[in-house]
């Protein structure tokens, strides 16, 4: 059976993005419901800001890997460091971090709107 090449390309990437987004969203829902009771209303602001921080770092890390990843890989090979660092792994990790942050950010306004 022929698989659409675009789908084949997108599926693993969407899985990484979706899993982290869902995990971030779940934690964000928990934080938005529980934390205001424990530490006050500023908790929502802080949860959103922490999510933004993760999204920012994830995006920066992803673009940094895309820009300089090949060079870093070559330098590691040249210096024989024996490290397993690769551009693909780095981008995957940064996608997870960024999507997790986006999930956190998404949860705060949605939960706040749902609770009125």
């Amino acid at each position: 059976m022929d698989v659409d090449p675009l789908l084949e390309w997108a599926r693993p990437r969407l899985r990484v993005l979706g899993t982290a987004l869902a995990a971030g969203f779940a934690l964000g829902v928990a934080a938005t419901v529980v934390l205001p009771v424990v530490v006050g209303q500023t908790a929502r602001v802080k949860t959103f800001a922490v999510g933004a921080l993760l999204l920012g770092f994830g995006t920066l890390g992803w673009s940094g890997s895309a820009m300089a990843g090949r060079g870093i890989e070559n330098a590691q090979r040249y210096m024989d460091t024996g490290s397993d660092w690769s551009e693909d792994d780095s981008r995957r990790a940064m996608t997870r971090v960024g999507s997790f942050g986006a999930g956190l950010m998404l949860a705060v306004p949605l939960v706040t709107a749902a609770r009125g």
Partner: protein, 343 residues
Amino acid sequence: MVSKRFVAKRLLLLVPVLFGVATVVFAILHLAPGDPARLIAGQRASREQYRAVREALGLNQPLWRQYLDFLVNAVQFNFGRSYQPGGFGRPVREVIADTLPVTIELAVYGQLIGILIGIPLGILSAVKQDSLTDHATRIGALSGISVPIFWSGPLLILAVATPPLSLFPTSGRIGVGFTPGSDFTRHTGLVTVDTLLSGNLPAFVDAVQHLFLPSLVIGIYSTALISRMMRSSMLEVVRQDYVRTARAKGQGERITLMKHGFRNALIPVVTIIGIQFGTLLGGAVLTETVFGIGGIGTTLVAAISNQNYPVVQGTVLTFALLFTLVNLGVDVTYSYLDPRIDQ
């Protein structure tokens, strides 16, 4: 020839970088303690006044709304007005437009000194390896890297800018006898360029004299780093087979070194120059402070300590934009020096 696809890809990658920086800056400023509305309204402000300032700043909006507004404004490079106790100050765009050229001018001249002295010194040191010239250059480079700017700056002032020599002015960008607007027109904000464009030669000479010492302080550090990098890169290249082949074919030593060696040895040096120039734009704070020049680095430090959020956001994003553009320039230069890179 540099391929358009390579440059387009690099330009596209600027978008996530700037988005990432904007998001991180927004998050950090909202995680940091302190209330800008209280700062502007003042400690004695009534509840109504405080609420009015919060509304004017948009702080009464939910954070997600503030974030979206911030992103939309950041794309248009609009960061609002700077904060000051008792009200709002100048537009951030104006603050950046005034201070950025100061730092750029300092960084460009400093880096120029570094390149003009560092590259020939590095080549000379490599060509005359283990000679007295080489040892002297290496010791000089090591000293240049090791000496901090907050020490070399005042030392230079004491040595050449105070009596009995008094060769150069110790602070400012231009003498008090020259007034921007009446003595020369502001075109670029770069005082040496503006005085030259206005055809005011005495003002130009005065500006060069004012900028010489701060540029030299930056240049000493740059020279040290560039000459060390150039030396090691050149030494590696001259041992390559293609250089040996050129020599075996009977090519002269100078042509072999400059035509085959220099261009290839330049690749790692360009990286260092690019990274250093980016760092200089943000890291010239010490030089600006020692020589009393109000650049963008000093503005950022003051804005952080005064919780002047719009100025912090604007300057950090400007740094990010400049840094990424400099890196783009470095990448383009790479692919010019070694066409295999963009393939």
